[in-house]
């Protein structure tokens, strides 16, 4: 079957796993295992997809990743490259289901809510659970492109450079999107 030792592969970099997957199809499973939960969470946070729909989108993402493995080059971080494919697939899935409004369905982790509140200078002398609910509710209401950028920054912990590579926009545009996202978020939150 050609399956490689699991523990040994955990220590390998993404780039090394890409090379392995190109040589041995089964090794692709290590990349899938490494990214499936991150991408699943990302899809659930920026769309209103049900668990089944989110799994379908995730499957399309990994199939596209596998098909395009030879297109990956180390000029870009693998995580940026795979998130870019995910970003495009989410947009494409959204286009196919235009009638469906995009609202975050997945609840927000309390630590992440605190991190957003701190960065956005929102007074947070309230119960942590309440804060998480309020931040989630505000995130649900802001524009999709603003919500995605906040999720990439605070939940996926991507740098501006990585966000620029994922959404294929200049860093200056990412920064100004983030500013506008903060303003709109604060307006809705307050």
């Amino acid at each position: 079957m050609g399956m490689i030792n699991g523990e040994k592969q955990q220590a390998k970099t993404d780039e090394e796993l890409v090379k392995l997957a190109l040589a041995d199809r089964d090794a692709f499973l290590y990349l899938v295992n490494r990214y499936q939960n991150k991408l699943f969470g990302y899809i659930r946070k920026i769309t209103d997809a049900s668990t089944e729909d989110a799994e379908d989108i995730l499957q399309d993402i990994f199939l596209k990743v596998y098909l395009n493995l030879n297109d990956f080059n180390t000029d870009l971080k693998f995580s940026s490259w795979i998130f870019r494919i995910a970003h495009n697939e989410v947009i494409s899935a959204h286009r196919k289901n235009k009638s469906r409004p995009l609202h975050s369905a997945a609840p927000l982790d309390e630590n992440i809510a605190e991190s957003i509140a701190a960065d956005f200078n929102i007074i947070k002398k309230i119960d942590e659970k309440l804060l998480a609910d309020k931040v989630s509710a505000a995130l649900d209401k802001i524009k999709k492109e603003y919500r995605e950028i906040i999720i990439l920054k605070f939940i996926e912990e991507k740098s501006y450079q990585e966000i620029s590579d994922i959404i294929k926009k200049p860093m200056g545009t990412v920064a100004s999107l983030m500013n506008r996202a903060k303003k709109e978020f604060k307006k809705i939150y307050e």
């Binding site: 199809r25 899938v32 939960n37 699943f40 995730l58 030879n70 860093m171």
Partner: protein
């Protein structure tokens, strides 16, 4: 609830195996990249050639000619701008910009910077091509062969083909005397052109087989009194189409001059 079913990975791998899905070969991606780059470079070169033609037109359409004309400067500019070439250039700058933006990391740069770089590179390359004579060569080739050349590519010729407004352009086909010659305009109509005996023109301007532009007055049907005569730049080879005209170098067919 952000974790996915544990069976997701193995199922995905099974699907890949069942459907015999394989990574696309590397060369297909490289080919796509090369095509984008090649299209970008071709657009840049074609844009540069368009710039060299525009410079050739603008360089010829200089203020010394305008100063000898009646009428507004704005009207002169508006009627003589090489619109075809400007639109052609804009199209290829856009194609170059599009390819630049979609190549590798093109998205990392701001739109304005990319558009400015595309414009600057086209102008820079166009200036070099102009110095090498590309603008004149392209205009000569198209002028000699292309149908509707004056109407589409060289509006300056249409501008100069307005005897009622004191402008005439055409090919000198016969010389009657030192102050009279026969000219075929761009519609192949013949004109008897008279110059004031005491008027000085640059030597070599009035020669059989050479095109000229004239500022003056239409004094009668097919008779024109010249005040200023200039050589023709853009469009000069258009008149090569007249070389087999029966009136070439045959002044005997002149219409009588009315008093």
């Amino acid at each position: 609830m952000n974790d996915i079913n544990k069976e997701f990975g193995p199922k995905l791998l099974e699907k890949i195996k069942e459907e015999k899905i394989a990574p696309r070969p590397r060369w297909t991606f490289l080919l796509k990249k090369y095509v984008v780059w090649a299209a970008g470079i071709i657009s840049l070169v074609v844009g540069g050639l368009a710039v060299s033609v525009i410079i050739y037109f603008v360089d010829d359409n200089n203020s010394s000619i305008y100063q000898r004309m009646d009428g507004s400067w704005l009207k002169f500019i508006f009627l003589t701008l090489p619109y075809f070439w400007l639109i052609f250039l804009a199209f290829f700058i856009f194609v170059f910009y599009y390819n630049l933006k979609h190549s590798g990391k093109g998205y990392r740069y701001p739109v304005l910077a990319m558009a400015a770089a595309s414009l600057f590179l086209s102008l820079f390359l166009g200036a070099i091509f102009f110095q090498l004579g590309a603008g004149r060569l392209i205009d000569d080739l198209l002028g000699e062969r292309l149908p509707l050349y004056p109407q589409v590519l060289n509006r300056q010729m249409v501008f100069w083909n307005a005897p009622d407004e004191g402008r005439l352009t055409g090919l000198v086909v016969a010389q009657i005397s030192n102050s009279e010659f026969i000219l075929l305009d761009i519609d192949r109509q013949s004109w008897q052109v008279m110059t004031a005996p005491d008027h000085y023109f640059l030597p070599g301007i009035i020669e059989i087989g050479k095109p000229v532009r004239i500022i003056g007055i239409k004094t009668d049907d097919n008779v024109f009194q010249a005040r200023d005569i200039f050589p023709v730049g853009p469009g000069r080879r258009f008149f090569h189409r007249f070389e087999n005209d029966s009136r070439f170098n045959r002044p005997i067919d002149l219409p009588p001059i009315l008093p």
